[in-house]
Amino acid sequence: MTTVGEEGKDKIFFVTKEDHATPSNAELVEEDPDDPYEERGLILPSGEINWNCPCLGGMASGPCGTEFKEAFSCFHYSKEELKGSECLDQFRAMQECMQRYPELYPQEEDKVPEENASKAEQTSEEASESDADSKSTSDPVQESNSTESSVES
């Protein structure tokens, strides 16, 4: 049962679970997928990579940003059977760069860059839907998550 109270100009409702069981009939404005003002996920509507995505943390802007961008772009546009297989050089360059900055890119796992890439790709597909969805991605890569967080701002 919904109980209503009032404290002057402030209205208070107390609602039980049953009260909220029926779906909401509140009308929300339809989202425009091409709205230029909106914040974008990792992949822009045009298919390009959004290097400014907060999800990348500092990867694209740090000292190894250029190498990262090259490697990840190669991976993203790769049409090979094994995605990114032709990008080994770029990934190697990126890794070499990252090894020079162990503080910024902790080398707990050698697979970090590739995992980042594949994880980011995964997320990119969901990111275009909504923020909430990307959260539900259950990602087996716990480790890279922790390395990611230490890099993030």
Partner: protein, 720 residues
């Protein structure tokens, strides 16, 4: 000036002629005194050959008079201006350590004509005159003539410029210390090719320099000069030009730097901050850092988040940045930070700024992210040094360090202010009081904590929570006076109550830093304070403002100024995007959060002002609905990040359902809507987490909703 001279010369004969005419006419009108020159048709302009003599003469007379008057005025102004200019130059060269003698004199020679009349030009020529070389201030003994001559050679012209010994001694102490850059070099690109002799000349005088603090640099420069180098030493310390210049080294600035680097490959970004620290985040300074078990936390500034993950308050470790010296040459660009340097002057026309050590840096795009300075209570300002020594204004890392130290050594501390910062600090200190027996008092004029943000019923509820954290809350307290007695502070309130305490923390607001508004010609907002910018955060061409200092136009919510961490990130990022050509307005609404202890936390978005009518929809909270649980799930302590930067949210291990915890009051979990003209402009998620995107959507829509309970359903407040 030359122009004027020419004009004068042209007009002179004319003036003479007309002055004669004038006298003649006066005589004539004097004789015909009854007749006013009204008979001259005023509309008749022509002074052609057939124009009537009288009209013609009158016309010439008027023109002549104007010409004379104008000529006299121009002449006087030129002279005055010249005088002022000379004085100014003299004062300034005596002030400046570096004596770009060549440039000064060449400037003198070139610009005496153009400088004088407009005084604005004078400051401009000063920076030209004094690039950032660390050379000794001009020697005193050579001051021969007080009046500088304009036509002498550079060598001799040094002397008149290097005059004014008394001024020097008077001004020198006022000059900011330039000890940070012992090997600094010339900055501005405008520096003309110097010639060796003046340098050699200054050498012997270096030791006579009255300013004692120059003892280090002169020794170095003397060595350099002795080596026969010209005044442009080989290696550059500070870059003379930064394509992207960010003034201020806080959250907004860092977010902009990151944005610029992401969008402009190889961008060179220079951050100039007056703090000694690299960019860091502020929220943990009043929250997590206080909860740390690490005794060395004041040094490491690392904090453990609820899930055990540790991180530093610095956005990036020092290895992320490149040095200012490397900036111009770095192949892929980078971000350089100049610490402990303050920008004191901004020349928008010339696209350059001047630092407190007189270095000039020119830019292509500039961001002003200067944040603000904590406000103080007037009564404390006036209370004298004793009181102020026992008062902390909290904002920076140093304030955290000193407050941490102080709070360990005293018996009683009082926080004045009931907003976010005050309440968080009070709670943090209150928790510490459990171990140390420290008495923590919090006082504020409102009825309850966050009285200006939360509706009254929630504010009261929050105040009770704060009290359980060990804080003695004194509400409706207006401080009348503060005195120091027996090494204790006595706070007298307007209603007569007296509070004795050892130390005060004043958390009474932030004064946005708009120091550059005057020199840059930027507008300051009178309602909210801060620089006035448009929806794209632009103040003027090539100048953007972000963070606490920006009063911007929010398309949805109107003009506002926001002092929260996430806003600094969002606006900094947006400014960086716009500096790289995006032209996007402020659209993604920033959020903020507050935790008052582990059991009470909320996230909020939009305009959350308790004076607005509100509608609150509440359910009962279970043990899972606490900030602790929320951060454990998302893995970060910075709540805004749990939304945006958590790419792969860790698989949430299903927590064993805890028994429902009922609170004494029923405000465990809920959503509060703030309305303005029936439209939701602000939302608080009270112990409801990870629902911010929906809240953002509702505000973005800006719709009138008939039944807010239906809207509340969208938040699934009953969900575990």
């Amino acid at each position: 000036m030359l122009k004027c001279r020419n004009v004068w010369r042209k007009l002179a004969p004319f003036a003479r002629a007309s002055s004669t005419l004038c006298r003649q006419n006066v005589k004539r009108t004097g004789l015909h005194n009854a007749r006013v020159p009204g008979h001259v048709p005023t509309a008749h302009m022509a002074t052609g050959p057939t124009g009537s003599g009288g009209e013609n003469r009158l016309y010439v007379l008027v023109i002549g008079a104007v010409a004379i008057g104008g000529g006299i005025y121009a002449y006087r102004t030129i002279q005055e201006g010249k005088q002022r200019y000379e004085e100014r130059i003299a004062t300034n060269t005596s002030l400046h350590h570096q004596s770009a003698k060549q440039t000064t004199t060449s400037v003198q020679i070139e610009t005496p004509a153009t400088e004088a009349i407009e005084t604005e030009v004078v400051p401009e020529s000063e920076p030209q005159a004094a690039p950032s070389t660390e050379e000794p201030s001009p020697p005193v003994p050579d001051a021969e003539t007080a009046a500088p001559s304009e036509t002498t050679e550079p060598l001799q012209a040094d002397e008149p410029v290097l005059e004014a010994a008394p001024e020097e001694t008077a001004e020198a102490p006022a000059k900011p210390l330039v000890e940070e850059e012992p090997s600094s070099e010339p900055g501005p690109a405008e520096q003309t090719e110097p010639s060796p002799p003046p340098v050699v000349e200054s050498e012997p005088a270096a030791s006579e320099s009255p300013a004692a603090k120059l003892s280090e640099p002169p020794a170095e420069v003397v060595a350099e000069s002795a080596a026969g180098l010209d005044t442009a030493p080989p290696s550059l310390a500070l870059p003379p030009h930064a394509p992207y210049l960010l003034i201020g080294g806080g959250t907004a600035s860092f977010a902009a730097a990151r944005s610029i680097r992401a969008r402009d490959p190889g961008a060179r970004v220079l951050i100039v901050t007056d703090e000694p620290d690299l960019p860091y985040m502020r929220p943990p300074l009043s929250k997590e850092l206080w909860f740390s078990d690490d005794p060395a936390v004041t040094d490491s500034l690392r904090f453990k988040q609820w899930n055990g993950k540790e991180r530093s308050i610095y956005f990036q470790p020092p290895s992320f940045y490149i040095t200012a010296e490397e900036l111009s040459n770095a192949e892929n660009g980078g971000v350089a930070v100049l610490t402990s340097k303050k920008v004191v002057h901004m020349d928008v026309r010339g696209n350059k700024v001047k630092l407190d050590d007189d270095t000039e840096i020119s830019y292509d795009k500039c961001l002003i992210a200067t944040g603000g300075v904590p406000r103080n209570l007037q009564v404390i300002d006036r209370a004298g040094e004793e009181v102020q020594k026992k008062t902390t204004l909290f904002r920076k890392i140093d304030d955290f360090r000193s407050l941490d130290k102080v709070s360990r050594n005293i018996k009683s501390i009082t926080v004045i202010g009931g907003g976010f910062l005050g309440s968080e600090l009070a709670c943090a200190l209150g928790r510490r009081s459990h171990h140390s027996g420290l008495e923590v008092i919090q006082m504020f004029p409102e009825k309850g904590n966050m009285g200006k943000v939360l509706p009254e019923y929630l504010s009261n509820w929050t105040t009770d929570k704060v009290k359980t954290e060990g804080v003695k809350v004194i509400s409706e307290a207006l401080v009348k006076s503060v005195t120091c007695k027996d090494d204790q502070l006595e706070i007298k309130l307007k209603d007569g109550r007296l509070v004795k305490t050892d130390h005060i923390v004043a958390a009474v607001g932030l004064e946005p830093n708009v120091d550059l508004a005057k020199s840059a010609g930027l507008e300051v907002d009178s309602d909210f304070g801060g620089y006035r910018v448009n929806a794209e955060l632009q103040a003027r061409s090539n100048i953007w403002v972000a963070g606490d200092a920006a009063c911007f136009y929010d398309i949805r919510l109107g003009r506002r100024r926001v002092e929260h961490h996430d806003h600094a990130v969002v606006s900094g990022r947006l400014a960086g995007e716009n500096m790289t050509g995006a032209n996007k307005p402020y659209w993604h609404q920033s959020m903020f959060w507050s935790d008052l202890g582990p059991d009470v936390g909320y996230e909020a978005i939009g305009i959350v002002d308790s004076s607005l009518p509100t509608v609150g929809v509440f359910a009962k909270a279970t043990a899972k609905d606490t900030p602790k649980a929320a951060t454990e799930m998302s893995g970060t302590g910075i709540r805004s990040e749990s939304e945006t930067e958590d790419v792969a949210s860790s698989a949430v291990a299903a927590s064993t359902p805890a028994p429902a915890v009922t609170h004494k009051d029923d405000y465990g979990k809920g959503v509060i809507f703030y309305l303005r003209d029936k439209v939701v402009v602000g939302i608080i998620l009270w112990n409801v987490f990870n629902q911010m995107p929906i809240a953002r959507k509702i505000i973005k829509d800006g719709e009138e909703h008939a039944d807010l309970n239906e809207v509340a359903k969208l938040f699934n407040i009953h969900e575990d």
